[in-house]
Symmetry: C2
DNA sequence: TAGATTGTTAATCGATTAACAATC
DNA sequence: TAGATTGTTAATCGATTAACAATC
């Protein structure tokens, strides 16, 4: 995994000792403990905001559910989508979002809408009792500290890819000069 | 942006000097130079492999095209999808992939298929003259060094979110002890 | 010349790695 | 007891920040 044994031990010890000196780690125990650290030991009710292709893909991807991340509803600005379903998740009109969150103890809101909309919705969500936003819009959101924001900026990822292509091509033409070849 | 002036200058100087002492940066020049570093100064022909919801979302997202990342075709294992279109991009049968790559000088292959398939396709791609793989499958791919791999592991992102929720809740209950509260 | 701003070297900080003690 | 493996402290390395010189 390109990680030293030292690093593994050091990292584990941030959270406590999981093994027995001279004996080893009980991998099953270790696995569940790491699960607890990551919050995978309980359910996380979620809602989707924006039932386009990206949102639908996330709802249909069942591995999240296995880990306790369950979509309770989807929302969309287009009124004609209301009542339809994505997989077994029903689409609601946007206005019902705050009420639904409160009634169903929603923890995580998944934003798969354009950035202009995302900023608006985030403003509404700032008043709701949610714990986190999973943001796929290409913008940074400003919400209270109690709401965790995790951004998935796909364009950043693609530009990183592009940079690595350029850097590799560079490396080929150059006759191994300077520090740019490292790593 | 939560970045010190020092860091900006240090980072820029990794790639050379872009400003004039006592004068400042020409932002327009700086912008295009950074674009060149990221490889945004020329086109990157791409193909999609896996025309499900996620793949369709990527094809339809037009901001990539603006930056020079253009989908030339899509591919899918389901033979019945062949001939259909996602936006203005035609879906081809999987068997045509290597040939298409060669004929059209494809640089980047976007993998939006299940991990078992992804590993297989990666094996085929190892023989093709591509420069990079943008991998959305939840697995690591083994390909020659000349092919850059950029992974988008959404489940990692979601677990990071979940961890931050747990950590914040922890912080609330604790009476500000130890090092766990930092940052 | 004074003020402002970048380039570059030095100091600081944090994370990774190595070493060794503790334990089975 | 010897070998193996984790916990923990020390050493090393790299990245961030601060300081200052160079230039407009």
């Amino acid at each position: 995994m390109h990680v030293t044994a030292s690093q593994i031990r050091q990292d584990f010890n941030h959270f406590g000792g999981f093994g027995q000196q001279g004996y080893g780690y009980n991998t099953e125990y270790l696995y569940t403990e790491i699960g607890k650290i990551l919050g995978l030991d309980h359910q996380h009710p979620m809602v989707l905001v924006g039932s386009g292709n990206l949102g639908s893909a996330l709802v249909r991807y069942m591995n999240f559910r296995r880990r306790g991340f369950v979509f309770k509803a989807a929302f969309d600005i287009s009124p004609e989508k209301a009542g339809r379903k994505v997989s077994d998740v029903t689409i609601h009109p946007m206005e019902e979002l705050p009420e639904f969150i409160r009634r169903n103890n929603i923890e995580i809101v998944v934003l798969t809408i354009p950035k202009q909309e995302a900023v608006k919705v985030a403003h509404t969500l700032a008043e709701c009792p949610i714990k986190a936003i999973w943001n796929f819009a290409h913008c940074d959101l400003h919400v209270p500290d109690r709401i965790q924001v995790e951004n998935v900026h796909l364009s950043d990822s693609l530009m990183k890819l592009s940079y690595n292509i350029r850097r590799f091509e560079e490396g080929k033409s150059t006759t191994n000069v300077g520090s740019d070849n490292g790593e």
